[in-house]
Subunit: 203 residues, 2 copies
């Protein structure tokens, strides 16, 4: 190794050592363990997808997962894949499609109310470590469910339970109550190039 | 039902009918089917998580998935969970931790080079429908791999193969080559409230 290369390697090591020390100090400063309320919102792709990624993570640590789909109903790859975990994943689909498919407000409201009752039952079930409330933001946006009650119940979830809420246009009250909020921001989308919905990508 | 309720229901139906027609027209305008290059970047949570959610989706449709982790090495819940799919998931971990953990540039570069070779082998394997290149953006940012070569190879992927690249600070040349780019934007993070890294959430 030449002198210059060795200097470069040494500089890199010193810089990284400093960074590691900062990282360690930061990790040591975090001491709270709690069940989190997470919100995935924004117009980009990945909101539900990341929720199902979290499901995998929880399953890998031996937990059980509850999924309530408030709006979507198309058969999805993730549902089929998660069937391999048997009763460690409980899946409930409320709606019969987006509201512009059913075109029937009363039916949509009744379906959402039923889904919300299922959600509360899953949140009360102590064997469940993560509950995914998929597209709940849409139901809240259309006022199919009472926002105050939903946020209060989510905020009062039992210790150790993680809840993920997905969907565009998360309500400010929900964002306020949440521990983690990620906005999936669309930078570039293949639909603009005429690429269609494909199995494995959109569902 | 009173007159007002019935008017309201009718207005809703008419509005949703219009929306559905727009939606249908949009879907009909998309005709291209292709393997996509997806990039999950940004400082928020959900980049790798959404990639693993996509893996579930592909597995649910009967596909095989390749995972190459360029930087991280901590045992993760998603890795354990995906083991249930046997050889339908091929998992390769390159690094021994973030660069500030190893503090050895030469070793990190060699590990990334090996990972990139594995990635190319997975991309060539016609039984694989999705390849996840986890934290490749970090390896590119530290110039551990030649950007031009990597982007050229990704752009020249075979028909029907989806590739997801994750990590902060995606390079502009990669964004340019991608079909879909999502920036996971941090709105609110529990670390700020002193909550620590937890199984099932961060790994």
């Amino acid at each position: 190794m030449s002198g210059t290369e060795s200097d470069d390697a040494e500089r890199h090591r010193a810089k990284m050592e400093k960074r590691r020390a900062m990282q360690d100090a930061e990790v040591a400063s975090k001491t709270v363990e709690k069940g989190l309320l997470l919100v995935h919102t924004g117009t980009g792709k990945g909101k539900s997808t990341a929720a199902f990624g979290l499901a995998l993570r929880v399953l890998g640590h031996g937990g059980r997962v509850g999924v309530v789909q408030f709006i979507k109903s198309r058969p999805t790859g993730e549902k089929t894949a998660l069937e391999v975990f048997g009763d460690r994943v409980v899946w409930h689909t409320a709606g019969e499609g987006f509201t512009w498919v059913t075109q029937d407000k009363a039916r949509d409201m009744a379906a959402c109310q039923g889904a919300w009752e299922t959600a509360q039952a899953l949140m009360a079930d102590e064997t469940v470590g993560l509950v995914i409330l998929d597209e709940l933001n849409i139901a809240l946006r259309y006022e199919y469910l009472p926002l105050d009650e939903v946020v209060a119940r989510l905020a009062a979830r039992r210790d150790g339970l993680h809840v993920v809420v997905t969907g565009r246009n998360a309500k400010p009250a929900l964002v306020e109550a949440a521990d983690l909020v990620t906005d999936m921001t669309m930078v570039k989308h293949h639909f603009k190039a005429g690429v269609k919905t494909q199995a494995g990508i959109e569902y």
